[in-house]
Point group: C2
Amino acid sequence: MLRTSMQVVEESGERSMGVTLSEVARHAGVSLATASRALNGSARTVGGELAAKVRASADALGYLPNAPAQALARAATANVGVLLHDVADPYFAAIARGVSDAAGRAGLLPLVINTDGEPETQVRGIRMLHGQRVRAIVLAGSAHTDPAAVRAVDAALADYRADGGRIATITDHGPGYDAVLPDNRGGAADLTRALLGLGHREFAVITGPERLRVPMERLAGVREALAEAGVEPAEGAVQHVEFTRAGGREAVRRLLDRPQAEWPTAVLALSDVCAIGVLGELRARGVDVPGRMSVAGFDDIPFAADVAPALSTVRMPLERLGASAVTLALESDGGGRPVRQALPTEVVLRGSTGAAPARGR
Amino acid sequence: MLRTSMQVVEESGERSMGVTLSEVARHAGVSLATASRALNGSARTVGGELAAKVRASADALGYLPNAPAQALARAATANVGVLLHDVADPYFAAIARGVSDAAGRAGLLPLVINTDGEPETQVRGIRMLHGQRVRAIVLAGSAHTDPAAVRAVDAALADYRADGGRIATITDHGPGYDAVLPDNRGGAADLTRALLGLGHREFAVITGPERLRVPMERLAGVREALAEAGVEPAEGAVQHVEFTRAGGREAVRRLLDRPQAEWPTAVLALSDVCAIGVLGELRARGVDVPGRMSVAGFDDIPFAADVAPALSTVRMPLERLGASAVTLALESDGGGRPVRQALPTEVVLRGSTGAAPARGR
DNA sequence: CGGCAAGGGGAAAGCGCTTTCCCGGAGGTT
DNA sequence: AACCTCCGGGAAAGCGCTTTCCCCTTGCCG
């Protein structure tokens, strides 16, 4: 009795990493090679009868191919890497979902790394993924404006690519990469035009940190549309904050600290997460939205439609962004010139924007 | 000229998987063994001088250890697996972030799989992670109530564990697993008591699908507190919907279809995401919250505080849930009895709840 | 009816690491 | 001075697969 149970323990202790292919082969009475070909696909075919026998043995023994071993032998893993600022941010969460779905369809598993937008973390992340020999890397976070940061990231990516790695970026990281390019600038310009159309002339724009390229592109779009209309944002009306709810609140506080006569009638928060912070702070201060002030965001994250008032924003197909990036990376033959796939954006006007109030005088 | 460029192509094609350790060893003039010991840590020490030389060669050549090869040789990867319903859901996104952080601290990389709450997808996911030989699996989604589903998941997990895998679950998946157990039932009861304290007697509760265990636990908590107070929910006042915004809206529609006299004064939506849908639909229908109806959610996802009115809810330390699960799984010696770590929850009352309106008669 | 091309099975050589195991030399004991 | 013990370097044996070769059958054609 006691011996029996001990034997069981010993057994499970001895070869603790699972059933191997050669066990399956022995059980089926075939060679290792045949077992491999029968189970894990190969150019060569295996006789129907034998193949069936091997498959039977495999699931009789509960065989599961050892992925690291396969990766080593094939010189290719079944993983893709995703580098993003923060999965807990709805923008990136949606992208991650898209990546995950597309990866799954390709039989791959996603490895996700949060960089918090730090260039060094990003570079470390690329190195880790490179070490993992992932099939492809999707770079989802914004590029940096600091040339040194860009250079560091580029260098890490170049190393990876030199080893046969495939890369796709979401938003622009330079012309050398396959990329999915939502129209940040155009979307921001359209949004701005929409608000101009509602009669607004006094704008505040709350955008992301100057170190990131995406918020700068969006800001450029706003400026472009404003300039077209001959409107100039007041001094101090462009705030750079983190793209978080706290960032939005902070910006509003600074905005409302100024004399009421200088308050804008329209606030463009160039990220929905941020805009939601703006809405919250405005409510806390008793500012009527959109009566006194219109607010718009950017991204159309899932919650944008559910806050009160519902957030006007620029719709981006977030999941598709992620999915397309994976597809692009995997299809990229590395040879030709990079595929740069532009994606349209669309202004969605909801309850948080309205006609500009009559001039307060 | 042409030849030169062709040579370059050939070179990069020839050994396309990167610098190997033996190249480093040769470059440093030491044996493979020494190089390995110097770079990738080992029980044995390497002479200071040699070690330095090896390290120098390593980064002169840009050596990055081949993770799959290491995994094979060490019989252990540097990955953990996370199984959740949907990363795009803020509840799971926050958990994923916690997992990711804790994994990073342990030098591991997370592999995430979305199951959409399907038992088969979950089982397939476990198998894939098992095949990947991940160090640990964190099961973040709710358990199922269907015994067959539970059995299937248990079986897959048992196989994994038999091969030395470590497992931790978030919320209860049975006593056999290390687990982080937020107090779903107690939290729901506390929340209910808080609303009873505000004078509410007519409740509706919107909970998740009966196939999932977590929403059933929360529902049980509500029922418990209601029973204590001698209050009985009206017929049809308990709605089972998906834990999504759409689910929340749908439930509200059904609720409001009944004669106004039967409307509840308090709606408990047992997930914040769902509650936000409820709030949206109520607003669309012009129902005053909290004047006519109080609404509460569950989870305290980051946005709960930012919707209007701000959502009363039960706070759960989501990121900590994820982080603790990783820690638990990694520390689990597999030997002793499972560690079951209870985590307290806390009722947070915000603007979406208020005193019950005077009895409509 | 011999010769030959496929078709499909198996032996064995890796893939890039880690880790025994062996060995030589330096230092300490009796 | 002979012996033993560490200490640290290196050769080589795997880890669990895939994939080249090599070889034996079959089937077919001239």
